[in-house]
């Protein structure tokens, strides 16, 4: 396993990050703006700033094919940034929400996107040709609290949402005229807008931080604030699921997760490192960390120096004692990991993924 590629961009929290399809451009949600970094050799250099929000930007997503960037912010707005030869042109989206927008993701079809909010609604936004703007329809029932994250099913109709009311839900976000009628799946057959295809709660009912569909779309995983990851296998529409497997861990809660094939989930969060879960319908278990236990930490390299005799005497001279340098974590990320995204895929497996954290680092990992 090769060493992770670490990019320490600045000393501010990164709320969300997204790579363009060619992986040469990196969009970072930093405070009230979005920064675009371009790859120059082995580093990422700031090349553009998207200014348009006036409160904290909570989420950013680049559509891989169209190159459009969607951002949302605590100022209750979402903006779609259209690439043009003279730079990105923002378009305001009519979200009609009265609280912060918390999370945004393009559907795989890229014809629409979902915005989660603190207003107990998810705005499903699509482009209306005749009026030439982005409008939204609200998924409302039965959400009782803030939406923390959303994830699209590969068919671009079903949407999973995690909420602070401790439920992970699966909705239909079918928009007439925009979407093709989806194939029947275990989640449902007829799927008019706002059909609730599933509502899941784990035993201790912590806030849900992250949700994700498996690559086939036939399983749903969610991470909650009780340090658990729960995997749901639906059986048939309107039927209780085939299996709901909760893995309670000894770790701190996970903030983000994604599927690597159908039998592996990678999750990271307050422990500042990524962990691997493996399993299937019969059961899941924690398989270990993706952090290398020793060495290979570019950008840190503190440990080797620490043990040298020179350093020991230098410390004794400076401080009168040998102190362990305990201001650095032993992980690559030095603070909570807030977002994980697949970076490179081949043959249905994720071979590389990227993570961003409160420490201002973006790290590209090998799975």
């Amino acid at each position: 396993m090769a060493a992770p590629e670490v990019h320490h961009l600045f000393h501010r929290p990164i709320a969300d990050h997204s790579f363009s399809a060619d992986r040469q451009t990196l969009a970072i949600a930093r405070d009230t703006q979005v920064e675009l970094y371009g790859r120059v050799g082995n580093a990422f250099k700031l090349k553009d700033e998207l200014k348009g929000h006036d409160k904290l930007v909570t989420s950013v997503d680049i559509a891989p094919n169209t190159g459009r960037i969607v951002t949302c912010s605590q100022d209750r707005n979402a903006l779609v940034w259209e690439p043009s030869p003279t730079g990105y042109k923002p378009t305001l989206v009519l979200l009609r929400i009265s609280r912060a927008a918390t999370f945004v993701r393009w559907s795989p079809s890229e014809a629409k996107f979902a915005v989660g909010s603190g207003d107990r609604v998810i705005a499903i936004c699509y482009f209306e040709e005749e009026n030439d703007w982005w409008v939204s329809k609200h998924l409302k029932k039965p959400i009782r609290s803030t939406i923390t994250s959303v994830a699209w099913h590969p068919n671009s109709v079903l949407l999973a949402a995690g909420s602070t009311d401790a439920h992970a839900r699966v909705f239909s976000a079918f928009i007439k005229g925009t979407d093709q009628r989806p194939e029947p799946s275990p989640w449902g057959e007829r799927l008019p807008f706002n059909t609730v295809c599933g509502e899941f709660l784990n035993n201790s009912a912590g806030w849900v931080h992250a949700v994700a569909f498996s690559p086939s779309g036939d399983a749903l995983a969610f991470a909650a604030h009780d340090s658990s990851v729960t995997v749901v296998y639906p059986s048939a529409p309107e039927q209780p699921p085939k299996a709901v497997i909760s893995i309670n861990t000894q770790l701190l809660p996970f903030m983000s997760l994604f599927w690597n094939g159908e039998t592996e989930i990678i999750a990271a969060g307050y422990d500042c490192e990524a962990f691997r879960f493996q399993g299937g319908e019969q059961g899941w278990q924690l398989a270990g960390t993706l952090e290398k236990v020793k060495a290979g930490r570019p950008g840190l390299g503190g440990e080797d120096r620490e043990e040298s005799a020179l350093n020991m005497f230098r410390q004794m001279d400076l401080k009168g004692k040998v102190t362990k340098d305990d201001t650095q974590l032993k992980t690559v990320h030095q603070n909570t990991v807030t977002m994980l995204r697949p970076f490179e895929e081949s043959g249905g497996r994720v071979t590389k993924f990227s993570s961003s954290g409160v420490d201002g680092r973006v790290v590209i990992w090998h799975t």
């Binding site: 107990r120 009782r144 609290s145 009311d165 401790a166 439920h167 709660l201 035993n203 201790s204 009912a205 912590g206 806030w207 909650a224 604030h225 009780d226 340090s227 658990s228 309670n248 861990t249 000894q250 770790l251 701190l252 809660p253």
Partner: protein, 206 residues
């Protein structure tokens, strides 16, 4: 110009922040019974809690401390009267106090490795915190009730050591607390920090 300024003054004040706008929204969480979000929990009466206490004591007398511990952790009183919850807390603490310090870690590891063991230790953690709350409350009230403290003039400014000194009555709560603290340490060693997180997030209170 002046109008704009006034307007700015009004918006700059943060009086509007004190309005609880949630109360004005019909379907917001304050106007909604949050407990309906969770599946209902079975109710356990005080008599049931006493019955569990009896069984657990029997196991303890028989020398099966691990069985006793598991037994009372598998039957937590989530939904019941205060008295039932109190009874069960005493049952758990009784078991904890009867287990030797050297036995703690191996026993916790055995329980953790079993089916549903992680859940058991989460329950144990909840009772540890409840026990700590109860013993510190007891220490507080007994401290306040002593006449020595009541008569100490508070105007001296410094610490009133008379009242703070552990009384004979506080001795037992002190030892109970130390038992709970050493259990807490051992549980975190085995079940990790996730266990504390779950205790805090769980809607099922003991």
């Amino acid at each position: 110009m002046s109008i704009i300024q006034q307007h700015t003054q009004a918006t700059l004040s943060d009086a509007w922040r004190t309005i609880n706008i949630d109360a004005l929204t019909e379907d917001s969480s304050v106007n909604f019974d949050v407990s309906t979000l969770h599946p209902p929990l079975p109710e356990i009466s005080e008599a049931d809690a006493r019955a569990i206490n009896g069984q657990v004591r029997q196991l303890l007398r028989g020398g099966d401390a691990e069985g006793a511990l598991r037994g009372c952790l598998e039957m937590p009183v989530y939904n019941g009267s205060e008295a039932a919850k109190e009874t069960h807390l005493h049952t758990v603490i009784e078991v904890l106090q009867s287990i030797k310090a050297s036995e703690m870690t191996p026993m916790l590891q055995r329980i953790f490795a079993q089916q549903g063991g992680s859940e058991c230790l989460d329950v144990l953690m909840k009772y540890l915190y409840k026990g700590m709350a109860a013993t510190s409350a007891a220490a507080d009230s007994s401290g306040r009730a002593t006449p020595a403290r009541a008569m100490t003039p508070q105007a001296t400014g410094g610490f009133s050591q008379v009242g703070q000194r552990p009384m004979a009555a506080n001795e037992s709560t002190g030892s109970a607390m130390s038992v709970l603290l050493s259990w807490h340490e051992k549980v975190v060693e085995v079940a990790g920090l996730g266990c504390i997180g779950r205790t805090m997030t769980d809607f099922r209170r003991v």
